[in-house]
């Protein structure tokens, strides 16, 4: 059982961003993708989620046995078990966090079944306490007027509530100070489970001291060009991405 990305090609407008990307995250593992700005990391997350601006021009993604692209709507993919914590989460005016997450959970129930409100709030508060999010946030509009760090915590809160089978966390560390980084990482680590696969996208090695990955991948220009264990992250931090590019050239 895995999240398996095979030879994925995708473009936005006329511009090809993903150029034959291969990656497999077995259930129970945590993988990290590192890569320079603009290498296509966020594009990968959005393409899998079904963002309407991108066109998939080749390849496939298998979520366990399910072909992700056979599910047209982003919400179908989400209900099938895919979660993306976005690099830039959207603000949703007028929709409170409590109502938003509740609607998302309700959408997963069979027709005619109602979410138990008491149990829901109990569960929500528990997760909020864990992520040290003030309970007052339940009645605030989703991400509206939140600081960068608050937005990222709110993404992790949603993940914790929705219990995805596979989750992609796109630069969840950016905008976090060191305390927040620790809290959020604990929240993510609490989600590690043999029943779940996690893909952590980051720019900095720093996050990977807190969320220790099983495998680290390096992305260059829309492809995974190198994979290794957690020491690869340290090497990247020390030597820079130029080193990766040189290595590839040598191999070629």
């Amino acid at each position: 059982m895995s999240l398996k990305i095979e030879n994925l090609h995708a473009k936005i407008g006329d511009r090809e961003i993903l150029k034959g990307l291969n990656l497999e995250i077995p259930k129970g593992e945590v993988h990290a993708i590192m890569g320079k700005n603009g290498s296509g990391k966020s594009t990968l997350a959005k393409v899998m989620a079904g963002h309407p601006d991108y066109e998939v021009t080749g390849g496939q993604v298998l979520l366990d046995e399910l072909n992700l692209f056979e599910m047209e709507e982003p919400d179908q993919r989400a209900r099938a078990g895919l979660f993306v914590a976005f690099q830039y989460p959207m603000e949703i005016p007028g929709v409170t966090i409590a109502n938003f997450i509740r609607a998302a959970l309700q959408a997963r129930l069979p027709e005619g079944e109602e979410l138990d409100a008491v149990e829901y709030y109990h569960h929500l508060y528990e997760k909020m306490d864990m992520l040290k999010i003030d309970r007052k946030f339940t009645s605030r509009a989703v991400n509206e007027g939140f600081s960068g760090g608050e937005k990222k915590r709110c993404e992790v809160l949603q993940m914790a509530m929705l219990n995805p089978v596979y989750a992609v966390l796109d630069e969840t560390d950016s905008g976090l100070d060191i305390d927040a980084l620790r809290i959020v990482s604990e929240g993510v680590n609490a989600m590690r489970s043999p029943e779940r696969g996690l893909l952590v996208i980051t720019h900095y090695q720093r996050l990977l001291d807190y969320i220790v990955p099983d495998v680290v991948h390096v992305m260059v220009d829309g492809r995974i060009v190198m994979s290794g264990d957690k020491t690869l992250a340290h090497k990247l931090e020390a030597e820079g991405y130029d080193w990766v590019e040189k290595e590839i050239l040598q191999k070629a």
Partner: protein
């Protein structure tokens, strides 16, 4: 829900239609003959016949207000419309007596059930006339009158004549003139001094026929210190051709009386909905319009309150939802004509797809007045980029000792935001409903429970429809 072979069902609650035999039909087009036909069927007194004919002359002489309003008005073909259709002028007092072909429509809309559950009285209008009208015995015993306009003018002429056409003169606008010429149906309500009607009175307006115009006329008089809540609902099936709904509603709140008038309309997208609503509030009286406009092709409606007595209060709370291809042109009029009068306008509009919302507000405070206050808040929500919204507030405050406050905001829900919500597992339609319900939530809180549930359901249906 039962299904019958002669029925065309659609997703939307009101979009169904049964064939009905009409006993009375004024035919197509509008002339003095049409008016004579209506007067004969209704056995109108001479002054009403004359009133109608005078109104027809005014209607014919007035131009379409396209110098400021939508040019879509020019697409109304008055010669193609049927102005009067009924199975008789006497509403039934029991649902058992309502003809089967009409009754099943109201049953399907849930009216008899709502009546049993929470209403003090119901009038159910089918095309031109009420098919059913009744109030609970206990309410009748308090001296409350709740009948149709025809019955009002026949049986209670002393009250009717005193106020009819006084709040909204025939020539107020072209459509109030049209209504005055051919009005039929609507409610006549009188609440005696000091009587507080506990449960709402409800009218339901149903258009069933194609190429038809519905012109109900409602007059509500709340005598000193009385209180009443009136609610109206409206639906029509979706026809290929356009349908016209043009009502006139006049409210009179005498000293210290309170009237709350709630509308939840759900017209199909072929209906021109051109309605004039105004209330006259005497000393310390309070008139509150709660107006929810969903559906229709073009709605033009600006409920107003004339605050005639000291310390009178006027309020308009409106929610307008303009779906694809629809135009909601709504607003409010507040005329302060006495000291220490206060008014409040809260308008929320939602535009979807190519839908368009317009807000027009008018606040007038006389120069010689003191201590008057108006608060206007007008918020628009645009869902996707094609939508448009316009705001035309006109505030005329004369005199230094009065205060006006005006706030406006525009929020947007983009495809990107919908995508974000969908990524959490929420369908596109549910995501839009969530955004819309969040936007109107503070207003919906003011509704009676049953109506907020109904409104929420209508919003959900409209969103499902817009996703296709």
């Amino acid at each position: 829900m039962e299904t019958k072979p002669d029925l065309n069902i659609d997703r939307s609650v009101g979009d169904f239609h049964y064939d009905v035999d009409y006993e009375f039909d004024a035919g197509i087009g509008l002339s003095e003959k049409t008016i004579d036909y209506i007067c004969d069927v209704k056995k109108d007194p001479d002054w009403i016949r004359e009133f109608r004919k005078e109104a027809l002359r005014k209607f014919n002489s007035m131009p379409m207000p396209t110098n400021w309003a939508s040019h879509d008005l020019d697409n109304i073909v008055f010669e193609n419309i049927r102005y009067y259709l009924s199975q008789g002028t006497q509403p039934k007092r029991s649902w058992d007596d309502v003809p089967e072909d009409v009754k099943r429509t109201f049953e399907r809309l849930g009216i008899p059930e709502q009546e049993r559950k929470f209403l003090a009285g119901v009038e159910a209008q089918f095309d031109s006339e009420a098919a059913y009208s009744n109030i609970k015995a206990a309410v009748g015993e308090q001296g409350v009158i709740f009948v149709g306009s025809t019955e009002g003018l026949h049986n209670h002429p002393e009250i009717f004549k005193k106020w009819f056409g006084k709040v909204i003169p025939t020539g107020d606008n072209k459509f109030s003139a049209l209504n005055s010429a051919v009005f039929s149906g609507g409610s006549f309500i009188y609440i005696p001094p000091g009587v507080k009607v506990k449960h709402p009175l409800q009218a339901y307006f149903r258009i069933n026929a194609e190429n038809f115009g519905q012109f109900e006329r409602t007059l509500i008089i709340a005598d000193e210190g009385s209180e009443v809540m009136y609610m109206e609902g409206c639906t029509a099936p979706k026809f290929e051709t356009s349908t016209l709904h043009s009502a006139v509603v006049e409210l009179v709140a005498l000293k210290g009386a309170k009237i709350q008038y709630i509308t939840v309309q759900n017209w199909s997208a072929n209906v021109f909905n051109l309605v004039t609503k105004r209330g006259l509030a005497h000393e310390e009286a309070e008139i509150k319009w709660i107006d929810c406009n969903i559906g229709s092709r073009l709605t033009m409606k600006y409920p107003g309150v004339i605050m005639k007595g000291r310390k009178a209060r006027g309020e308009v709370i409106s929610i307008a939802l303009a779906g694809d291809g629809q135009h909601q042109d709504t607003g409010a009029k507040m005329v302060h004509a006495a000291d220490e009068t206060t008014s409040n306008i809260v308008s929320k509009s939602i535009s979807l797809g190519s839908g368009r919302s317009t807000y027009r507000g008018l606040v007038q405070i006389g120069r010689h007045l003191k201590g008057c206050k108006n608060n206007t808040e007008c918020d628009a929500l645009l869902i996707n980029t094609e939508s448009r919204t316009d705001t035309y507030p006109a505030i005329t405050v004369r005199g230094k000792e009065n205060a006006c406050q005006h706030e406006a905001s525009v929020s947007k829900i983009s495809a990107e935001q919908i995508f974000y919500m969908q990524q959490r597992g929420i369908s596109e339609a549910a995501a839009m409903s969530l955004a819309v319900n969040g936007f109107v939530n503070d207003l919906v809180q003011q509704f009676p429970m049953e109506y907020s549930v109904e409104l929420k359901r209508l919003i959900d249906l409209e969103m499902e429809g817009s996703v296709g």
